[in-house]
């Protein structure tokens, strides 16, 4: 029985790891088929990118930084095409949705904490614990 459970969970673990990538990539491929925009065009269209002012405050003030600190260069660098994409101009939802998500997840944690205390009993641990899966 124990071995069967262990085997089942290990198989499930491997499956989740594999699916995580396979499904994720397939979904992304379908999703991007229509709305991929070349990076330069996308950045140019997005007015929120004020490129001439895009100096990194931290790096630019480091006198010793001999390498380029210009953020704008990164956005226009072809080798990074697609990496730093333009953020979709549409805004999604209000701040309340963020607070609601945080509230719900914290409530879930507190509920889990309370239920675990109620459901737990040391008396449920059985003899097999002593010798079945010891180091």
């Amino acid at each position: 029985m124990k071995r069967r459970w262990i085997a089942a969970f290990l198989v499930a673990l491997m499956t989740v790891c594999a699916l995580d990538q396979i499904v994720g990539q397939s979904v992304a491929q379908i999703a991007t088929r229509h709305d991929r925009v070349p990076i330069k065009q996308a950045v140019a269209q997005d007015r929120r990118f004020n490129l001439p002012q895009m100096k990194n405050p931290v790096a630019s003030s480091a006198k010793s930084a001999a390498l380029s600190n210009d953020a704008a260069e990164l956005y226009y660098d072809d080798t990074w095409q697609g990496y730093v994409g333009a953020w979709p101009p549409n805004r999604h939802g209000s701040l309340w949705s963020v607070l609601l998500t945080l509230g719900l997840s914290l409530t879930m944690t507190i509920a889990g904490y309370w239920i675990f205390g109620r459901a737990y009993s040391e008396r449920l641990l059985h003899d097999g614990r002593q010798n079945s899966l010891d180091p």
Partner: protein
């Protein structure tokens, strides 16, 4: 909740699986010395080089965005580690040392964490000491603790989760178990808020083992198990979501994002961003080559005017790195033989991290091996402890010795290296004929000596100490052309 309580005839046992050995004064002193040595290797000359190296540039751009609110910068990775770098810059100033303090701190914490983890996994002070020493001497962990990149953070958060998984297992007290679950939730949440995809594997792994522990070590009361499992999932899941969302709060503070929909769209953006990356890039290497460390590369290399080279090398300690596959094999063998959850953990975790990368088509760099490297160290510590105690079969010490022969050949060249290896094997065979215990200890001593020597030998490459060109080239065991290239 009203749960069925076991009747008087049902087996009842509140005995713990075993206790980690009690702390002696000498062990406490050893533990503190290890931490001090680690801190020295991580913090000494941390500001060198003063240049912004490799992906530090991306991290600093984001840190700048979080500190000053502009420019808006979106990364493929969540912001927690970058927020820590921003905090450090805010507290200690805008210079190379300050921006690397969080990495060095997390890299230092990893040593005591691995020490405690091995102590609870193998219930042995020796295993714990070995895990601590190996973590200290693994150059891959060292170099990633000395630069302002995000890789070391995820590994340290994962180690906190592993440690509490085994704390959960060793205790029967409800409060201690509940506390362990809470810490696991926080650690996994922080890991996912640092580097999401690889931390999803960590989360799946830890949660799966929690469920296995619940289901294999509890009487089959279906209802109680279901409630406990649901409660555990709610605690861990709730904390993970809370911390992940909270890490993005600066986006809302600065008005870059307006609602939760932006965070959901970001997930899509990350997927498309990853897909848009090319299959091959500079320094990229396939997953299968990582355990062999074929494509280590310099994060930074600079030729000084006096002809010496400053390098920050993204490679590991070969004496540890190449020891990981044999150690995992032996771990797996003993996991099956002893039906042991502890022994199964390193090979299962390593395989899960490895499998995750197989379907990925974007270019990959060897630093993604970091999670596997950290778990591999625990495997080596466990196996060496068995070796020291004379508990291994005859073929296992020989298997452990094989990578060290390769190290000998690279350091001493072919003829001398083979002669040294032959002498070691002959000596081992001679000792093994008399006493198996001493033969095991001899192998352990050889491996540890090799680890110590290679650590000192490669240390200048990890800590950007100036090296002459000849000394630098001598340490580059693979020079290409092709995949096997450390330059």
């Amino acid at each position: 909740l009203q749960l069925k309580q076991p009747s008087a005839t049902e087996p009842v046992n509140t005995t713990a699986l075993g206790e980690a050995p009690s702390w002696s004064t000498s062990e406490v002193i050893l533990f503190l010395i290890l931490i001090a040595l680690t801190a020295v290797t991580r913090f000494r000359r941390l500001g060198s080089p003063a240049f912004v190296i490799f992906d530090e540039r991306l991290v600093l751009m984001q840190a700048g965005a979080y500190l000053r609110g502009w420019p808006f910068f979106l990364s493929l990775h969540p912001p927690l580690a970058k927020l820590l770098v921003a905090l450090s810059c805010d507290l200690f100033g805008d210079h190379a040392y300050a921006r690397r303090i969080p990495s060095a701190l997390f890299g230092t914490i990893l040593v005591p964490l691995n020490y405690l983890l091995a102590r609870r996994m193998f219930l042995s002070s020796l295993a714990a000491t070995l895990a601590g020493v190996l973590t200290l001497c693994e150059g891959f962990l060292l170099v990633n603790s000395r630069i302002a990149m995000i890789n070391i953070f995820g590994v340290t958060f994962a180690a906190i989760a592993y440690l509490n998984l085994f704390r959960f297992r060793l205790t029967t007290r409800m409060r201690a178990r509940r506390r362990a679950i809470l810490i696991i939730g926080i650690a996994l949440g922080c890991a996912i808020a640092t580097k999401a995809v690889i931390s999803e594997v960590t989360a799946t792994l830890v949660i799966s083992y929690l469920v296995i522990i619940l289901y294999t070590e509890t009487v089959p009361d279906r209802r109680a198990l279901l409630w406990q499992t649901a409660a555990m999932l709610a605690m861990v899941g709730g904390l993970m979501v809370s911390i992940y969302v909270a890490a993005f709060l600066p986006y809302y503070h600065y008005g870059w994002w307006s609602g939760i929909g932006d965070l959901i769209s970001y997930q899509h953006w990350v997927l498309t961003g990853n897909l848009a990356l090319p299959h091959e890039g500079p320094y990229s290497s396939p997953v299968w080559s990582w355990p062999l460390m074929l494509r280590a590369f310099p994060y930074f290399s600079y030729l000084k005017q006096d002809g010496r080279t400053l390098t920050v090398w993204c490679g590991g300690n070969p004496a540890i790195w190449w020891e990981i596959p044999p150690a995992l094999l032996i771990c797996g063998f003993h996991a099956i033989k002893q039906r042991s959850l502890s022994w199964s953990f390193p090979p299962v975790a390593y395989s899960a991290y490895m499998l995750m990368w197989i379907p990925v088509r974007r270019y990959l760099l060897i630093y993604d091996f970091l999670s596997m490297s950290a778990i591999g160290i625990i495997a080596i510590a466990g196996v060496l402890t068995m070796c020291w105690n004379g508990e291994l079969n005859l073929w296992e010490p020989l298997l452990l010795l094989t990578p060290q022969i390769a190290v000998l050949i690279f350091i001493l060249r072919l003829t001398l290296g083979l002669a040294a290896a032959a002498a070691i094997i002959a000596l081992w065979a001679l000792i093994a004929r008399r006493k198996n215990l001493e033969a095991g200890r001899f192998i352990c001593a050889c491996i540890l000596a090799s680890v110590g020597f290679t650590f000192i030998y490669f240390y200048p490459l990890w800590s950007s100490m100036p090296l002459s060109k000849a000394a630098y080239l001598e340490r580059m065991w693979f020079k290409g052309p092709g995949l096997a290239n450390w330059m």
